[in-house]
């Protein structure tokens, strides 16, 4: 006995509209999207919104707690750190690093991962095996460790950290693309397209890619979360952003010793990471549900 669903409501929508409709109905996903957009806006407009220069040290307001504490200082909304720098501004600028890097990493991993995965899925044979084995090896080393080692080799800097994380996130995209390509290659529309003269790159981009975009979108969103967490972890370990760069992870690293005297220097950056990653994950879940044709709408 199948469940009854008012299918006539959906019958008029195109697949794309259907996805959007389902997503809109998901309140938590929508909230997450709004939060992310706000964060992005904050990051982009940081120079305009920030109350102070994030690098400037105000030596007579060291370790000021945030509002509405008794010893808080006017103008320093979220307090200051041990060098008198404004937390709010540093956090805001930190958003720029995290968000921008997150996007960059995902784009890089996505694009290269899809390319490699497509080659593996379409060429099969030895190429496929070699690629798969390589990806397995990369996945055998725990993510952070691999990133740490890569950074150790290249030298600690934010750029190298970003590169390391991109490499770490690569295998997932390769695997998903390869699996999706393989299952699509047997479909009729591919055969039809091939008879039409399409092959290689054209076949992939025009015919196959649009049909495998759903799992890639979901993976991209979830990788965004991983990217942010990994960059922060590397920053925390001193292998990513270097002081005085106000990247959230490295903020946590430098304020670790202040944990007893100035807890807000520890709680706030971590909270920022949490909110961003949480929003990204909720959105990713929502997208997954919206893109899955089996999930009931109402």
């Amino acid at each position: 006995m199948k469940e009854i669903s008012p299918s006539e409501i959906l019958a008029d929508l195109t697949p794309r509209q259907e996805v959007w409709y389902k997503l809109r109905a998901n309140r938590s996903a929508m909230t997450a999207l709004i939060v992310l957009l706000l964060l992005i806006a904050g990051a982009v407009l940081a120079p305009l919104i920030a109350t102070h220069d994030p690098f400037e040290q105000f030596t007579d307001t060291l370790l000021a707690p945030p509002y509405p504490a008794a010893e808080s200082r006017p103008g320093f909304l979220l307090g200051t750190d041990d060098l008198g720098r404004d937390m709010f501004s540093r956090l805001l600028y930190g958003a720029r690093y995290s968000l921008f890097l997150g996007f960059a990493i995902v784009v890089f991993s996505l694009v290269s991962g899809v390319m490699i995965g497509a080659v593996a899925g379409m060429k099969r044979g030895l190429t496929e095996t070699v690629i798969l084995r390589l990806m397995d090896i990369m996945l055998a080393v725990p993510a952070i460790l691999l990133a740490i080692v890569i950074v150790a080799i290249l030298g600690p800097s934010l750029a190298n950290a970003a590169l390391a994380v991109s490499i770490v996130l690569l295998p997932q995209f390769v695997r998903i693309t390869r699996a999706a390509v393989i299952s699509e290659m047997n479909q009729e529309y591919v055969l039809a397209s091939q008879l039409d003269g399409s092959k290689g790159r054209r076949l992939f981009f025009q015919a196959i890619l649009p049909n495998i975009s759903a799992p890639l979108i979901v993976l991209a969103t979830l990788s965004f979360s991983s990217a942010i967490l990994d960059i922060a972890a590397l920053g925390f370990l001193g292998l990513g952003a270097q002081p005085p760069t106000p990247e959230w992870g490295s903020l946590l690293s430098s304020s670790r010793e202040l944990i007893e005297v100035a807890p807000w220097t520890v709680t706030l950056p971590g909270l920022a990471i949490l909110i961003t990653v949480l929003a990204s994950n909720i959105l990713g879940d929502g997208l997954r549900d919206a893109l899955d044709p089996k999930v009931e709408v109402l």
């Binding site: 055998a140 080393v141 080799i153 972890a233 370990l237 950056p269 949490l274």
Partner: protein, 335 residues
């Protein structure tokens, strides 16, 4: 089935080879002269340099170097730490039990809480209970665990003074090392106070380390249960007049756990990642902290050997899980 098992075992070989190759090339990619890095010496004379070159085989063609390296690895020689001058394998052996103890406790914790939570969320779908459990697990794996560790320390060690901050056991206890597992060794020494102290030290790091696996297991169990509960055979079980308890815990859970068990196994990689961060914050003397400090100190033999060992471990566990999966799932057996 035997065929399937053998095939899966065979796949370990190229994986292992690959990892060895990876670590082999790592050292050659590092900035600076690899010979000097491996020897840990600086400012050597030309003579000494030639000696080292021969010692490390750098005067041979690359392929010979690799096979030599491989041979050495298989013989248990993974180099020597430039900092402590002890063999890498030996140091790993000394420090591994600490990480293992922490990981096992964390995993037990994550499973004991995660699976029932997932079942509860699935059975009480779309109620407040479900939403709360889902929300908590979502936060669980969205959190930077190094921050979570600091928060817990702030609350329980600094503010409340309930928990110790660092190490495995209070230094006043002098316990003989038998197995390397503090919980076992303290019991073997007959020191009850020491045992509880060791347990005390385990609490916070284990909670931190368990957080992500807990969240993942909860989610996985929930979604797996939901899928299973929709199946026809659940309807049959109810039609037979079985109690709801029997339907959920006997018929549904047995099926729902199958994918969850693989997830549990695959969490090893996550655990090792988490261990690195956890150990450094809690000064837990395990391999995570060891390898991280080696990176800071440019102790390349340790980095190289450590990565090889850890990756080898992950491959081992993943393979075991794969094999276990075939055994558990009757559908995959004889066809």
């Amino acid at each position: 089935m035997l065929q399937l098992l053998l095939r899966r075992l065979l796949l370990v070989v190229p994986g292992f080879l690959g990892v060895t190759a990876l670590t082999f090339f790592l050292i050659r990619l590092a900035p600076g002269d690899p010979i000097l890095l491996l020897a840990g010496e600086r400012g050597v004379s030309a003579e000494r340099y030639a000696e080292l070159q021969h010692q490390f085989g750098f005067d041979q063609p690359l392929l010979i170097q690799f096979t030599d390296y491989l041979w050495q690895v298989l013989n248990g020689n993974l180099g020597t730490s430039v900092v402590t001058q002890t063999p890498v394998l030996e140091e790993f052996g000394k420090l591994f039990p600490a990480t293992l103890e922490l990981a096992v406790i964390a995993m037990i914790f994550a499973t004991i809480i995660g699976i029932p939570a997932g079942v509860l969320a699935a059975v009480k779908r779309n109620t407040v209970i479900d939403h709360s459990i889902t929300a908590v697990s979502l936060v669980g794996y969205s959190m930077p665990i190094f921050w979570w560790a600091l928060l817990l320390i702030l609350l329980f060690s600094v503010n409340l003074g309930w928990m110790p901050v660092a190490g495995r056991i209070n230094f006043i206890y002098d316990i003989d090392r038998v197995t390397g597992f503090m919980l076992i060794d303290t019991l073997l020494a007959g020191d009850k106070d020491a045992f509880f102290d060791a347990l005390h030290h385990l609490v916070l790091p284990a909670i931190v380390l368990a957080t992500i696996p807990l969240a993942v297991i909860t989610r996985m169990t929930r979604s797996s249960m939901l899928e299973v509960l929709k199946q026809d055979y659940i309807r049959t079980a109810r039609a037979k007049g079985l109690s709801e308890f029997s339907v959920i815990f006997k018929h549904a859970l047995r099926n729902a756990l199958i994918p969850v068990i693989t997830v549990i196994g695959l969490q090893t990689s996550i655990l090792l990642t988490g261990a690195i961060l956890t150990e450094i914050i809690f000064s837990w003397p395990g391999i995570g902290k060891w390898i991280l400090e080696a990176v800071y100190r440019r102790d390349y033999p340790v980095v190289q050997g450590g990565v090889l060992l850890i990756a080898g471990l992950v491959i081992l566990v993943n393979t075991t899980v794969d094999l276990l999966y075939v055994v558990i799932n009757p559908v995959l057996r004889r066809r």
